[in-house]
Structure formats: structure tokens, C-alpha cells
């Protein structure tokens, strides 16, 4: 891993490593969802609206 310029907050060693673990688990999820929506796209099912347009909470 290469970590460029030092941040002003200490991100914490454990907090950095746990992100890699979570990423490994979630990256799979995101990839599956991305291809799933592509597959749905072939059948003309549109994805949900962009998150950015959502209210901050319901």
C-alpha cells in the first residue's frame, strides 16, 4: 500500500486496515449490484433515481 501526503488527522492504523477488509467484502457487493443493474437494463428496468436527489433522511 502506498499512502501519499500525510493527513492532518491521524486516520489510525487499525481504522485503515479494517477498511481494506470491509472493502474486500463490499467491493464484491458493489460489483454484483452493478452487473445486476446492467442485466436488468437489458430487460428495460431502469435503476432508481440518483442518491444525490434524495433528502438527507426520510
Amino acid at each position: 500500500m502506498h499512502f501519499a501526503p500525510l493527513p492532518y488527522l491521524d486516520p489510525g492504523s487499525g481504522s485503515f486496515l479494517i477498511q481494506l477488509l470491509i472493502a474486500a467484502l463490499l467491493g464484491i457487493g458493489v460489483a454484483v449490484r452493478a452487473s445486476w443493474s446492467r442485466i436488468k437494463g437489458w430487460f428495460g428496468i431502469k435503476p432508481k433515481t440518483d442518491e444525490d436527489d434524495d433528502e438527507t433522511s426520510k
Binding site: 500500500m1 499512502f3 481504522s15 485503515f16 486496515l17 472493502a23 467491493g27 444525490d52 438527507t56 433522511s57
Partner: protein
């Protein structure tokens, strides 16, 4: 913001010292933020990428104007900006569950938009969020840095400590655990959160990973150099996954504001409709007469009278001790899209102190005043009788808290006072209308005193001497 450090003909704010990107200072009562040269590229990127405009439009970032450069510390300065003033600074330990949750979701929403613009939040402090026009808004314009592909999120730990851990504790253990934020200025330590959360939260993927495993990893790798470990990188997709996962974990947490001390207070008061209406009418008329900029409603419950007071345009901070009442108040304000009403949690018998480095990072309740007008309705018996505060002391405290005062005297014969006295000896011989007026006349000029219809209570308008 009175607590400042003299510096080169301007006042640097004591809370603004950690980040080398710049700092806040005030001059002639106006608040400015100096952007340091070290931050020049990031600042340009924030503006030129269109991210600034997008965030401001969405109400997620405080708008600012660039002003003629007259920096406080000239040698380091790149630019000086003047952020729009926040009407009242509040802190996460004064927020209800819903407020902290909305602040968390706003932070994640900002991070998502930043990533789309090739930037990332370099901190995720709950103190960087303030309620502006009723919505959680980032007030630190210098919180962004260029996103570097492969890098994990620098602010991940801070986000978990400031938002996820206290929200999980409030929702799943006890609502009062938000007060841990008052003790731990950089958020709830994750090992503590992990210990306090119910064991069953290990079956919740978000809490298992972001809190329990996170705490374990912190302990295991504390102080180790991770820069040289392996060749793993953190893709942008992984970053998006992380943010989505935090978002899902936060959204899953809910808290029902029913059933604490005051949740249904208005159903159990001894007010007739006529008395209630009369009280509303008096408060409305006096607020119009005084025309205050800032009103503090102390003991506001769910904010019925705060709403009366805010209807003529004043900014009303609506304080109450009960988390359920504050939550209901906030939900209603949100539903009404109220822009000048801020519900906050406050125990008047032990108000927020000055906190942080040198006791100067977070201002106490008193330092954020005085208000132009204080409302103290159906409050005095709780302070004078339940908390044994002598009336002259109460008068002194309120005189320092507000320039004008609308206060309700609740006599001993009132059933609410009888209820407070039911289980204790009556050691309050001075708690009479005469004793009350004598005590308050020391610090106030009594402008009006009106008997509330169909009630034994008296409503006063007073001006500080």
C-alpha cells in the same frame, strides 16, 4: 464567540487551530476564514470543479464570499473568505437522535458528491455540522482534499466515533448515551461503544464491521506502521461501497420518541383551552412588541410556544431536557420546513459547559448568550422547587441569559406544584407571588403582569435592568 486569541489586529477563534489549511478569525464582529497557501490547490479545485456550487445549492455547505485580502497572518495567506453567519452554534451533545442522524447522513451525502467531483472529506467531525435554515450544513469550507485513487478514507474513524457509535448506542442501548459526546470530544471511543452495545448487534453487518471489528482492529494494530504493509489498495468502488455501507447502517438505526418524562406533557397539564389560548396570545403579542432577533425558549417541551414566537421572524432556540420532546420538536420543525427554529437538548440545572482544549473549543451555554428575549413558561417551579434554586438566584441567572424575559409564575396552589411537593417537605416559604416579584424586581423592571384566564398562573414581561 467571545473566546478568542489576540493575533495581529484580529481575533483568531480558539476552536479553530487543528487544521493547517486555514483558520477562523473575527474582525469588527464579522467572521472570516483565512485560506492558507498550503490549501490553495484544494480550494481552487473545490470551486472550479463545481462541487462548491452543487453543495451550496443542496444546502449542504455554508455559502461564502471571497473578500479583499486582509489576512490575519499575511505570510501564510492565500485568500480570505467570509462565510454566511450561522444563527446559533449548537453541539452534537445538544442534538436529538434525529438531528445527529440527519447530520450523519448529510456528511455521507457530501462525501458522495465530493467523490464525484474528484475530492474527498478529510475530516468528518460532527462539530463541522451546524443547523442552518433547519438543515444540517457543513460549515468548514476547508474540509475537502483531492481524492487519491487507492487511498482509504482518512476520516473513517472520525465518522464512526462522531456519528455511528453514538447513534447506535442511543438507538439500541439508551437514548441518554448521547451525553458520552460531552465527555469524549473526538467522539465515542469504539472499544467503549463495542462494549456497551447489546451483544446482538454483532449480527448487524454494519455494526459488526464498523464498530465491533473496527474496535478490534484498532486495538490489534495500534501504533503500527501500515504504510508498508502489503500492496493492497482501496479502489474508488471500494470507497463507494464503504460510504453506502455506512449510510445503510445509519438509516437502519431508529429511535421512537414516545414515552419519556414529557412525551405527552400537553395531555396532562391542567390548562383549559381558554388558558392555553390566552397564554399563546400574550406570548405572541409581547414577542411582537420586543421584536427580538434571538429568542431562547427554556423548557420548551415540544415547542408549542417556540412556534408562536418564531412566527414573527425571530430565530428561536427551543431548549428542553427531555430527549423525546426535543425529537418530536425537531420532527415537526422538519415537517414544517421551519427555517428559524432550532430544538436542542439542555439540562438547565447543569447546562453545557465550555469544553475542549484549554476549555475554549466549545462554548458553554452562557457564552453563547445572552439572547434578546428568554421565554420561561411553566418552568420556574421545576427550578425553584424540584432543584431548590432560591428565587433571587433564578432571577440573577435569567438576567444574565436574556435582555428581556417572558416568565410564568406558577403558584403553590397549582396542581403541578402540588405534585412536585407531594413527596417532600415544603421548605419554600418565599415561593409566593410577592416573593417572586420581590426577587425578580432586583434585576428586572416588570413591564406587564397578566393573570392567565381560567388559571391561577401569572404571565410577566420583564426587561433587564
Amino acid at each position: 464567540m467571545r473566546m478568542t486569541t489576540k493575533q495581529a489586529n484580529s481575533e483568531q477563534l480558539a476552536a479553530s487551530f487543528r487544521d493547517p489549511s486555514g483558520f477562523l478569525f473575527s474582525r469588527d464582529g464579522v467572521l472570516y476564514r483565512q485560506v492558507n497557501r498550503a490549501y490553495e490547490q484544494e480550494y481552487r479545485r473545490l470551486i472550479e470543479s463545481g462541487l462548491y456550487e452543487k453543495l451550496v445549492k443542496a444546502g449542504l455547505l455554508i455559502p461564502h464570499t471571497e473578500v479583499d485580502p486582509f489576512p490575519a497572518r499575511g505570510d501564510e495567506a492565500f485568500r480570505v473568505i467570509r462565510p454566511e453567519r450561522v444563527p446559533f452554534i449548537s453541539y452534537p451533545y445538544e442534538w436529538s437522535f434525529g438531528q445527529l442522524k440527519d447530520a450523519a447522513l448529510a456528511t455521507l451525502s457530501i462525501q458522495r458528491r465530493a467523490l464525484k467531483a474528484g475530492m474527498s472529506l478529510k475530516d468528518a467531525s460532527a462539530y463541522n455540522i451546524q443547523f442552518v435554515l433547519g438543515k444540517p450544513t457543513l460549515i468548514d469550507t476547508l474540509s475537502f482534499e483531492s481524492y487519491r485513487e487507492g487511498q482509504p478514507w482518512v476520516a473513517y474513524r472520525q465518522f464512526c466515533q462522531h456519528f455511528l457509535a453514538p447513534l447506535a448506542l442511543m438507538a439500541l442501548r439508551d437514548i441518554r448515551l448521547n451525553q458520552l459526546l460531552r465527555v469524549y470530544i473526538d467522539g465515542v471511543p469504539l472499544d467503549l461503544a463495542s462494549e456497551l452495545l447489546p451483544w446482538s448487534t454483532r449480527f448487524n453487518f454494519g455494526l459488526l464491521t464498523h464498530i465491533h471489528l473496527h474496535a478490534k482492529a484498532q486495538k490489534k494494530y495500534a501504533g503500527q506502521d501500515v504504510k508498508s504493509r502489503g500492496s493492497a489498495t482501496f479502489s474508488k468502488q471500494a470507497m463507494t461501497g464503504l460510504i453506502d455501507s455506512l449510510d445503510a447502517a445509519i438509516r437502519k438505526l431508529n429511535q421512537d420518541p414516545g414515552g419519556t418524562e414529557w412525551g405527552n406533557y400537553y395531555d396532562i397539564t391542567n390548562y383549559s383551552d381558554a388558558a392555553f389560548e390566552h397564554k399563546k396570545q400574550l406570548v405572541g403579542a409581547w414577542v411582537k412588541q420586543v421584536n427580538p432577533g434571538l429568542i431562547w425558549d427554556l423548557g420548551a417541551n415540544t415547542g408549542v410556544f417556540s412556534r408562536v414566537a418564531s412566527s414573527s421572524g425571530s430565530f428561536v432556540v427551543s431548549f428542553d431536557i427531555d430527549p423525546a420532546a426535543v425529537e418530536q420538536n425537531y420532527r415537526q420543525a422538519k415537517k414544517e420546513k421551519s427555517e428559524n427554529l432550532l430544538p436542542l437538548l439542555l439540562d438547565l440545572t447543569n447546562p453545557s459547559p465550555s469544553l475542549g482544549w484549554a476549555n475554549r473549543e466549545r462554548d458553554s451555554f452562557a457564552l453563547r448568550g445572552p439572547a434578546d428575549l428568554v421565554l420561561a413558561l411553566a418552568l420556574i417551579h421545576h427550578l425553584a422547587i424540584s432543584n431548590n434554586v432560591p428565587l433571587p438566584q433564578l432571577s440573577g441567572f435569567l438576567a444574565e441569559t436574556g435582555k428581556w424575559l417572558v416568565i410564568e409564575f406558577v403558584p403553590k396552589s397549582d396542581s403541578q406544584v402540588q405534585r412536585l411537593l407531594a413527596s417532600r417537605e415544603d421548605i419554600f416559604p418565599d415561593y409566593t407571588r410577592e416573593g417572586f416579584e420581590a426577587a425578580f424586581s432586583r434585576r428586572f423592571r416588570i413591564d406587564s403582569a397578566v393573570n392567565v384566564h381560567e388559571s391561577e398562573r401569572v404571565l410577566y414581561l420583564m426587561e433587564g435592568k
